[in-house]
Symmetry: C2
DNA sequence: GTTAGCACTCGGTATATGTGAGTGCTAACT
DNA sequence: AGTTAGCACTCACATATACCGAGTGCTAAC
């Protein structure tokens, strides 16, 4: 879709004014906001054309125009000038996500928190689950006569743990055979290979302790399943309650966010460096009045994960996109550095 | 405060009708709902007295009455007949919180979920932190050349873990001295003894590895702090968005619930078998339109923790209190059984 | 002590009316 | 041909007015 320069200028002005004020933008008020050597009548004609092209919408006949999701899309793709990241915001981000912040998990937590804070939106983050992930290590730490903590570490650095109750006492000999069995049969195997069926044959092979072993191995199976699922961190959901345009469906939206699966679905859609999904572009109905901005970070030049935000469609794209981008890059750098030191 | 039988009957009817309909209750409509051999004028007189006693309120002069928080309180303490738990609900609870559900943590999670579901409120749960808790065990599982997972187990059964980055490589000799140091100096000590100052002297004592040791011990300190803090699980917050009386302050309420500390504060208030806090009785302003129902469960005849719910003041106390009670008792029984087997 | 009766209150709904920011269209003007 | 002044028209929103009805408190009679 090719637009004349004048149309571009008008569309951009409409989007920006609407983002700022939240009110439908009329031809006359547009000229106040963005003076041009044009009469309102001309603007009106142009706006009418932009409407028929599907880039602008009218809430009702005698109101001003608001951008349609296609309008936002055109703006984001072609018109938006990315504003420089505000110095204060940058400092804020850097402060929250400092290098000393230990492991990847807590770094992502921090990143989500700060993003939710500075943007007043909900923040999501998720580390990519490598399909090629193999089990690097399995540990069992007994924490009672019949309970133990199982720890599973993958080659991609994902760490999961879980308390597990065995069906009988965890004797030193059971510990030993658990160690033997897992290191012989599981370490080095891809996560998807771990399932209850293989566990059963494995457990059977140890003989007398088979029954207790099975419950432990079942725990390992659950861990492996956990480790191969995206887990999405979510922050600042309640921020979304402040937007009038979202509050009519507040409950639905919150419930949607609470459930992990659809969110996991969304972040895995983020294949590019930066993705923006506007309103109805989202495949989930619950997000039809929301926009999602997601960016990937990479660790050692490999795909690391996604950090993004969810807000109303009427959101300051020009300002927030650089924030998300800056944060993901920073997280990527920090994790890369941590990995190199390791 | 002593009330005549007739006043009691009228108060109970007002509370029950208001809980059911959500509309202020007038003298005439009350008689429809609860036929009595009285005229509406008499009811009116009684209501006026109940109002002046502070048990009923009028939203505006010419409207019906609604219970004040004192009115609810009187109802809950003196008038309410506890209804039997619905068979379906009981089955639902039992199903969700079955014995096989592993460790205490996940059991509480499940309990919170089911409670939020059946009550349509927010559910909270928290295990009591024993002040007498001492460190039972500390484990370190290396998960990288410089990172390790620290695991801390207390005598009260609380288990915490954390990833920790050491300042230098984690050599077998470091692991060994970590094991020696912690088992000699920390195991058996109460949680509150663990602080950075003592860690520094401890670290210094190991000689050459002091620096790396310190970062590990700092991790242990954090774990100990974690373990001695109540951690409150929260479920079904979004359920509260469905109540009109709460939705004006939805954002505030959600933010309040999101923050852990005030919630921790609230559950630790639950000293009795069953506590109900109604509206303004809550010390937090954010809950002035909410009621909190909390019950304790015990494990092996010792205080185990609290499970409760947060809803609007206009809530079916007679129905929900038994649900909470049943759930806590069940959880207590299951945990006791699990502990005995252990 | 109870109740019928009555004047009064007041939120909610309905109706009319005006206001103003917006529109589209046409005809005149560069 | 593109631009613009002008104009009739639209429609959400605000304000005023009236009315309804479920509620009240109070009084006087039962």
């Amino acid at each position: 879709m090719e637009l004349s320069d004048r149309k571009k200028k008008i569309l951009a002005a409409v989007v920006e004014q609407y983002i700022k004020t939240g009110e439908p933008v009329g031809s006359k008020s547009l000229l106040e906001y963005q003076p041009m050597s044009l009469s309102s009548a001309t603007v009106r004609n142009e706006m009418a054309e932009l409407s028929s092209m599907g880039l602008l919408e009218q809430p009702h006949t005698s109101a001003g125009r608001i951008p349609s999701h296609k309008g936002y899309r055109y703006y984001v793709d072609n018109l938006m000038g990315r504003t420089e990241l505000d110095e204060k915001v940058r400092k804020h981000i850097e402060n929250a996500v400092s290098e000393k912040s230990g492991d990847a998990d807590s770094l992502l937590s921090r990143a989500g928190e700060v993003l939710a804070n500075i943007t007043n939106c909900a923040a999501v983050s998720a580390a990519t689950v490598g399909e090629s992930a193999v089990i690097k290590r399995i540990e069992m730490v007994p924490v009672g006569t019949r309970t133990a903590m199982l720890v599973l570490l993958t080659s991609t650095g994902i760490l999961k743990s879980k308390i597990c109750r065995a069906d009988s006492e965890i004797t030193p000999s059971l510990s030993e055979s658990f160690y033997n069995v897992t290191s012989a049969a599981l370490v080095g195997r891809p996560l998807c290979d771990v399932n209850l069926a293989t566990m059963q044959t494995l457990a059977a092979s140890v003989g007398c302790d088979a029954f207790a072993m099975l419950s432990l191995l079942a725990g390992v199976t659950e861990l492996a399943r956990d480790a191969s699922q995206v887990d999405v961190r979510l922050d600042g959901q309640s921020n979304l309650l402040n937007y009038v345009e979202l509050e009519q469906n507040a409950y639905e939206l919150m419930e949607f966010l609470r459930k992990g699966e659809p969110l996991g679905d969304i972040v895995t859609l983020n294949k590019n460096d930066l993705d923006v999904l506007i309103g109805k572009e989202n495949k989930y109905r619950q997000l039809e009045h929301s926009s999602v901005i997601m960016a990937r970070y990479s660790v050692k030049n490999q795909d690391g994960g996604t950090i993004g935000l969810i807000g109303p469609t009427r959101i300051d794209y020009a300002k927030l996109i650089p924030s998300v981008k800056y944060l993901t890059d920073l997280v990527g750098r920090i994790l890369t550095k941590a990995l190199e030191e390791d």
